[in-house]
């Protein structure tokens, strides 16, 4: 009897704490709502951390929706095999490069492309060994875990992008002004197309770029999207010309992962 009262009390207390903690979270107003008109002393960063321009937000939402659809789709991924042009002239250095790449693959098996890995697994399946069923089951578990991991990653990134910046207005302006000067916009772009390129950067504390990744990379190889490749290349060129980027001297953890949204729509459409 006393045990059940104790349990009931514990759970009731738990429920009250839970309600107290979650209700404010649920009632929290979305970022887009107009600010409450109360005068208060606030940090400048709270005001200046505007996520992104309204136009870019709309375009981003569209892209995200498309991305989600693409993940659900069961279509095979586009071939990563580089097209060999018959007229391509091999450079004297090309042979050496190829050799180097092979060595690299051996040393770092993680770097083997997904497609290559899949092919080798397929071969394994063909050479089916009944004695290795247990191993295969384990492998399938790993595969599922990896898929889940990937899904999680995607969900997380979509959550992340909705959060506000960690740069103040002046810091953001300094960075923007620096990149404006470096970005030579290709002038022949079709103005009626979506001209937004999102590039994710991993930065060093001094502002030099450690790694850059085009987020809509698949679009580069789609038919009729040749202009997108040109635009993405121009954005990458701008980052390379500009580096080291003008980043704040402090708070490296906040800006070490930086996403630049190069939006040519505004300039070309006016």
């Amino acid at each position: 009897m006393s045990k059940s009262i104790f349990l009931s009390l514990t759970f009731h207390t738990l429920m009250i704490i839970l309600t107290a903690l979650t209700l404010p979270f649920m009632l929290r107003a979305p970022i887009d709502l107009p600010p409450i008109l109360t005068i208060d002393l606030i940090q400048i960063t709270d005001v200046t951390s505007i996520p992104f321009a309204a136009k870019a937000t709309k375009t981003l939402e569209k892209i995200k929706k498309k991305e989600e659809e693409r993940v659900v789709s069961k279509q095979a991924p586009p071939s990563e095999k580089k097209k060999e042009k018959p007229d391509r002239i091999p450079l004297p250095d090309d042979l050496n490069k190829e050799k180097k790449q092979i060595v690299k693959k051996k040393q770092n098996p993680e770097e083997v492309k997904e497609q290559i890995r899949q092919a080798s697994e397929f071969e394994k399946k063909e050479l089916f060994d009944p004695n290795q069923i247990a191993a295969l089951i384990d492998k399938s578990k790993e595969d599922t875990a990896e898929t889940l991991k990937k899904k999680k990653k995607l969900t997380q990134s979509s959550v992340e992008t909705t959060f506000a910046n960690a740069l103040t207005l002046s810091q953001e302006d300094a960075l923007k002004a620096q990149i404006f000067g470096c970005w030579s916009l290709p002038l022949g772009l079709p103005y009626q197309e979506n001209l937004l390129v999102r590039i994710k950067l991993k930065l060093k504390p001094d502002g030099t770029v450690l790694r850059s990744e085009i987020l809509d990379h698949a679009r580069m190889n789609r038919p009729g999207q040749g202009f997108y490749k040109v635009l993405a290349e121009s954005a990458l060129r701008a980052i390379r010309i500009c580096q080291p980027l003008r980043v704040p001297p402090t708070g490296y953890e906040k800006w070490k992962d930086l996403q630049l949204n190069f939006d040519a729509n505004e300039m070309l459409k006016g």
Partner: protein, 447 residues
């Protein structure tokens, strides 16, 4: 159990504070033309000199690079850097450029190449380099007869243009126009053809008959134009390669303003009789003539949309000359221009997104573009007298002709060919041996 509860609490408290990714929107950039270095092509040792028109071209590599450079300069999209500032010599640059040297002069792209001439064959190979990323963007080789070196330069220009802008080029094309000589009151007009940069001019007629409005077929090397036959203006068809010409149709009146359909199988033109002008088409295979418009007013200057489903033309059915669009069978006629002034010579862009036109308002002539529904009218250039716009095959540049003012005796008169791109800022005179009018741009020669 305890652990579970702690984890549960932890999740609730911290689920809301995922690591924020800093995002910065870059909405402005530099609109200056892309700085590009076109290094003179390295000529392989043992290569012979080229003889052309009794002239010996000694350094063909340099000549090819000059043609490429001029193409880029005229396009307005690139800024070819001065060769004096180049640090690296072509003989080394064509193998592996030292990117630091090219970055020093602020080049963002670099073109290098090598030319070999042996046994009456010219082989030109080129590479386009991304100087900033220090990587090769494209590398191709072409073989042809040495006489064809200018075309090789144009093809290379097209490939580079395509790689750097994402749209097809327009350098390996030709322009047909009416060459004009003599006094204003007594002009000799000949059909002439040249490369898009004004080189390699050839005259196709002798000048003893008046010729007007030549138009290229978008599919092959056929040209249709207007000339006089038994004192009547008639539409002609000319095969540039064979030189064979013929009258199109046997009409009991005058035919004018011809133009090809997008598939090159039909000619659309105006036919005037008893003061009324209507639009007709003629199938070039079957020679079947079809009447498209039927109205008491003057309907002329027809031009097909690139999909062949619509036709734009000008008509004075509303009282003033305006532009109309209809289905290719003549149904569903809609007026698309409502602005002040007169609108004429509509031409549908090869991309299909715009219609170019000539506008006359308060004594001034304008070349402009608008969407096929008549919205978004933009006047690109204004002058005393200019008309007849014709699109480049990629729908980015317009060529037209402009006449100057003259006195009563015709002194000071000239007619010149001009080009302007869609931005309206890149307006250029196209140098021709004689005066020129009524230009028409061919499709790409190497597709």
């Amino acid at each position: 159990m305890k652990k579970l509860i702690i984890t549960f609490f932890y999740l609730i408290i911290f689920s809301n504070s995922a690591i924020a990714l800093v995002e910065v929107d870059i909405t402005r950039g530099n609109l200056d033309p892309l700085p590009i270095a076109v290094s003179p092509m390295y000529v392989a040792p043992g290569s012979k000199d080229i003889k052309q028109n009794d002239k010996i071209i000694k350094n063909i590599g340099e000549e090819i690079s000059k043609v490429i450079e001029m193409n880029f300069k005229r396009s307005g999209l690139f800024n070819p850097l001065k060769k004096d500032s180049f640090v690296q010599n072509p003989d080394i640059a064509h193998v592996k450029p030292r990117f630091e040297d090219w970055r020093l002069i602020k080049a963002q792209a670099l073109v290098t190449g090598k030319v070999t001439i042996s046994e009456d064959k010219l082989r030109a190979e080129f590479r386009l380099w991304d100087v900033v990323a220090a990587k090769e963007m494209i590398a191709l080789a072409f073989s042809t007869t040495p006489d064809n070196w200018r075309r090789v330069a144009h093809i290379i220009s097209d490939k580079i243009y395509e790689r750097l802008t994402g749209e097809t080029g327009y350098f390996d094309t030709r322009i047909i126009y009416v060459s004009e000589t003599g006094e204003k009151t007594q002009r000799f007009k000949k059909l002439a053809i040249m490369d898009q940069d004004g080189a390699n001019v050839k005259y196709l007629t002798l000048g003893n008959e008046l010729v007007l409005t030549p138009r290229f077929s978008p599919r092959n090397q056929l040209v249709t134009y207007l000339s006089y036959f038994r004192n009547l203006p008639r539409v002609y068809l000319l095969d540039i390669e064979t030189g064979v010409q013929e009258v199109v149709g046997d009409f009991a009146g005058m035919t004018f303003a011809p133009r090809f359909s997008p598939d090159g199988k039909k000619i659309i033109m105006s036919f005037a009789k008893d003061g009324n002008s209507e639009i007709y088409t003629m199938n070039l295979d079957t020679r079947v003539v079809e009447k498209i418009t039927d109205h008491s007013s003057i309907d002329t200057s027809p031009s097909y949309s690139p999909d062949g489903k619509y036709i734009c033309f000008n008509s004075d059915r509303s009282g003033l000359q305006q532009i109309y669009v209809m289905r290719s069978d003549g149904s569903n006629v809609k007026r698309i221009t409502f602005g002040k002034g007169l609108y004429g010579t509509p031409v549908w862009s090869p991309r299909g997104d715009l219609i170019a036109f000539t506008k006359v308002h308060k004594g001034k002539f304008y070349i402009g573009v608008m969407r096929p529904d008549g919205s978004g009218e933009r006047l690109l250039t204004e002058n005393f007298y200019q008309e007849a716009p014709s699109w480049s095959p990629n729908g980015r540049v317009l060529i037209f002709y402009r006449e100057t003012k003259s006195d009563a005796k015709g002194k000071g008169f000239s007619a010149k060919l001009w080009s302007i791109d869609l931005t309206g800022y890149n307006e250029r005179l196209i140098e021709t041996e004689t005066d020129g009018s009524d230009p028409s741009w061919s499709s790409l020669l190497s597709k």
